[in-house]
Amino acid sequence: MRQVIKGNHAVSHGVRLSRVKVISAYPITPQTTIVEQLSEMCASGELEAKFIKVESEHSAMAAVVGSASAGVRSFTATSSHGLLLMHEVLHWTAGARLPIVLANVNRAVGPGWNIWADQTDSLSQRDTGWIQFYCESNQEVLDSVIMGYRLAEKVMLPVMLSYDAFFLSHTSEIVDVPDIEQVDEFLPPYEPEFRLDVNKPRMFGGMVGPDCYYEERYVMFRDALKVLDIYPQVCEQFHAVFGREYDVVEEYRTEEAEIILVTAGTITSVSRIAVDRARGEGKKVGLMKLRLFRPLPIERWQKVLGNAAKVVVIDRDLCAGLGGVFASEIRSALYPLTNRPVLFSFIAGLGGRDVTPEDVEGMINYAAANEEPETMPLFWGLKGDQGGNHAETL
């Protein structure tokens, strides 16, 4: 049924529809209303789940690690510093091969204390072994929860779905909220092979020496790559039941594009407008929306971006000493190509600063006008001199 709901509530519905049995979360702006609505659903009986109250995000993650280990579909949600506080347990969750879904509201990392949209939080967790998705709309957010469980339980790896603070979390959009019977068709009950069972006691997470650890990690690595085969199957099944598709990337007007933008999150929506305008002016500009980030869909990225002359990556994140994370990963994905495009890396929108179609047009024009990018990324819209080429003067 189509409803007008906020991004956070889209997550709540996704969790309800997935018949999650255990939820544990600690409140943090702008995630709080996800869990608020979930607790209301639990109280009314709409959702038959146990809500475990904890005193920190570290404990929240640990609590769902416990419940998932006991064989129960589990969920948590957080943002920014909450995610960072979970860091140790994020590594553990993936290593323990637990199919937990975590909804992360992308919010800036302090200090300065900033609650607005910024993707540094989830990107800084890219080494933890979690499958990572970036969502552009509230519909995508809801659907990603459901698909997330299906995928996670097939490969036994946890899924983190991220979406922008306030732009999605607190903004209402039209969302088709499916019926639970439809979701039951798509998402079967969770029945793991190994789980904590007092009648069949086993040792979980035991000590492993140098003679064994290596192979254990290799198995994990291989299984993560399986996602690249399994996810498209999940997508097909999802499409069959719900009529919506979510490919690993979405190509927007990339036919014969000379310049291709790469964006993740709500900047994608803004960029679609800039692309349309550019195409309107006869420029051959396209857009690759980045949805799956881990595992890295290297081949797909190579295929989409390989033939363009220039790739423009917009990072709403910053890795100190490196620059944009997406830019860095795309560079490394494109490296094996003999003919690879030139990559322009822009940093924009940190801490929730607005990125407008005009900003994106400016970035497109900069790329069009320049043959060689700078070594360091360009900070779009920075107040004051950046040194070197002043992008703002364009």
Partner: protein
């Protein structure tokens, strides 16, 4: 969750390549073959014990048991369970001193549980006509109960359940003793008392009002007609004031006599200004009754308010209604006219000296501190005494009461067929309704043992509860407790044994009482029974001391997963002694002391509970 533990000893798995690895970091064997129970030297057992409330109750009322049934909504079952130890919940639920509440372990947390109100609720739930289940036949022995007060009623009830033919003799035209003619209607409505006799009659007990022993029949007659006698004539005479000069007048009367007249619907000439002498329940009852009849009333008590033996609630309600209280005062002299009119009541101020034999400070007359109290009528409430002349010297009397043995048998003189027992206020026990009821129960059991030729002192020892004088009729009859768990009827669970961390504060549900202005002229009951919701809420405050309620704490805390739910509709848990190391965490974390740690060698009922294993 039945234990179907499968032992899988660790095997050596060859991990030659990553291919051989399990899909996650998990052991493929377990350690169940290592029976850690072998480490134990003490072990836990589930053992229900005696809660503080039951221990404090002279009748050994299994309060926790019927509260549990109440909480399940099984009101009739709760009623019959309550009746096992105390047959008159609608009565005691209104007038009991509630020793249980004073002992309740909830007091250190917030406030005691309103047990008396809950008992009243249960008593009032049940239709008067509801037949007593499982009434036995008769074995042919007969019992004459002399006196229809609470001791007599209780003896009659239990004796009937033990198969005796029972007749209750009562001198007055109405049955009930003090319950009917001593306690005023606003505390205990007469219909409640009448209903209980209706029930007793339906059980086959013969009621003979207007048949006083020593008046309509003699003691010797019934002594030769019946196999057993239970004397329960109570205390219906009052202590005299014992003042200098004449104190006999139609306007100087015993408070108890006044109450009796009012209860029987007789006219009483009380005058306008009453002085009530005394501080016990009789004095307060007389004062409040006189007040309701339109008089101005002043209570004169020789000690201070704190030392008044009456129920503090009664005192407070009396004062709210407008009864005056003059403490540290006692009558010194009454001056009467020839026609008996009171000319003067002279009182003396008192002060408190060192404690006397009751432990309370002795009141001493203050020299030259005399004062007049305006009064045209004096009611005495300074102590009640038994009337025992009907005994015709058949029994020893010491200090005005009848000494008895541990089974309440009387030391008799002369001969006669009947074995004679006694209870209630005429034997040396505290003068409360519940003590009277308890004595009737004990005597009935002793009489039954006597009939069977068994030694009742051994039996009474076996069926004793806790560390007081209470005995259990359920134990005597071999009836099952509410929980099908091993019972220890001696260990008392006091507040030291409760783990208060597991209980949150809950405000006590207050019983509504009519405002003083409304109730002060009314003989109608001025409190109402709890509604079902109120009862459930208040019953929810019971901590179930010493009794398992399947709260799962032991299961949650056991580090060896050795607490197993019995399952399949069975109550409670079983310890898996294969693995239990006897660490005692379950015992420590049980909020209500329902587990006992015993020596490893002790064999226990229920040890054989089989947890199925593959």
């Amino acid at each position: 969750m039945n234990s179907k533990r499968r032992s899988e000893p660790a095997q050596k798995h060859e991990l030659r390549s990553w291919y051989d690895y399990p899909p996650m970091n998990v052991s493929l064997g377990n350690m169940l073959h290592n029976k850690t129970g072998a480490w134990r030297f003490i072990k836990p057992i589930y053992e229900d014990k005696v809660p503080a409330c039951q221990n404090a109750c002279p009748a050994g009322n299994d309060i926790e048991g019927w509260i549990k049934l109440l909480q399940k909504g099984e009101y009739e079952e709760a009623y019959w369970h309550l009746k096992r130890e105390q047959p008159f919940p609608s009565i005691l639920g209104r007038v009991c001193f509630s020793f249980c509440q004073t002992a309740c372990n909830r007091s250190p947390l917030d406030e005691c549980v309103g047990i008396r109100e809950l008992e009243r609720f249960i008593g009032d739930q049940v239709a008067p006509s509801l037949a007593h289940p499982n009434l036995p036949g008769y074995h042919g022995k007969s019992l004459a109960v002399v006196g229809s007060g609470p001791a007599g009623m209780s003896a009659a009830y239990y004796a009937r359940l033990l198969g005796f033919h029972v007749t209750i003799f009562e001198a007055l035209p109405v049955m009930g003793g003090i319950l009917r003619v001593g306690i005023p209607g606003y505390r205990l409505p007469r219909e409640i008392v009448e209903t209980e006799f209706h029930r007793l009659k339906n059980m086959g007990i013969e009621l003979r009002p207007n048949t006083g022993v020593g008046a309509s029949v003699t003691i010797d007659e019934i002594r030769n007609t019946y196999d057993y006698l239970f004397l329960a004539t109570g205390v219906h005479a009052s202590r005299r004031l014992g003042l200098e000069g004449k104190d006999e007048s139609h306007r100087v009367m015993s408070g108890l006599a006044m109450l009796k007249k009012v209860a029987l619907g007789e006219k009483v000439d009380l005058g306008q200004k009453i002085a009530v002498i005394g501080g016990g329940n009789t004095a307060i009852d007389a004062a409040r009754t006189a007040f309701r009849l339109g008089c101005r009333v002043t209570i004169i008590y020789r000690r201070s308010e704190n030392e008044m033996p009456a129920h503090p609630e009664e005192v407070r309600e009396a004062l709210e209604e407008g009864v005056q209280l003059r403490t540290l005062a006692a009558p010194a002299r009454i001056e009467l006219d020839d026609d008996g009119t009171i000319r003067r009541l002279v009182c003396c101020e008192m002060e408190l000296g060192p404690p006397d034999e009751s432990g309370r400070r002795r009141p001493i007359k203050k020299e030259g501190a005399l004062f007049d109290v305006e009064a045209d009528c004096i009611l005495t409430g300074i102590g009640e005494i038994p009337i025992l002349h009907y005994l015709n010297n058949m029994a020893t009397i010491e200090n005005g009461v009848i000494p008895v043995d541990e089974g309440l048998k009387v030391y008799t003189k002369g001969s006669g067929k009947a074995r004679i027992f006694a209870g209630g206020d005429i034997i040396p026990i505290p003068h409360t309704v519940v003590h009277a009821v308890a004595s009737g129960k004990k005597a009935a059991i002793a009489m039954d043992c006597d009939r069977k030729g068994t030694d009742y002192s051994d039996v009474l020892e076996e069926i004793a509860l806790g560390d007081g004088t209470a005995i259990s009729f359920s134990l005597y009859m071999g009836w099952d407790p509410v929980n099908p768990v091993t019972q220890n009827n001696r260990i008392v669970v006091d507040s030291e044994k409760i783990v208060y961390d597991y209980f949150g504060k809950e405000p006590r549900v207050r019983q509504e009482i009519q405002e003083a202005n409304i109730r002060k002229r009314s003989f109608e009951s001025h409190t109402r029974t709890f509604t079902a919701d109120e009862a459930q809420q208040e019953a929810g405050r019971c901590m179930h001391c010493g009794r398992c309620i399947e709260c799962d704490n032991c299961l949650i805390f056991c580090p060896d997963m050795s607490v197993q739910v019995k399952g399949e509709e069975q109550f409670g848990y079983a310890f898996d002694y294969d693995y239990c190391k006897g660490c005692g965490i379950c015992f420590t974390e049980c909020p209500r002391y329902a587990i006992t740690m015993v020596d490893e060698e002790t064999s226990v009922e229920g040890d054989n509970f089989q947890l199925s294993t593959e």
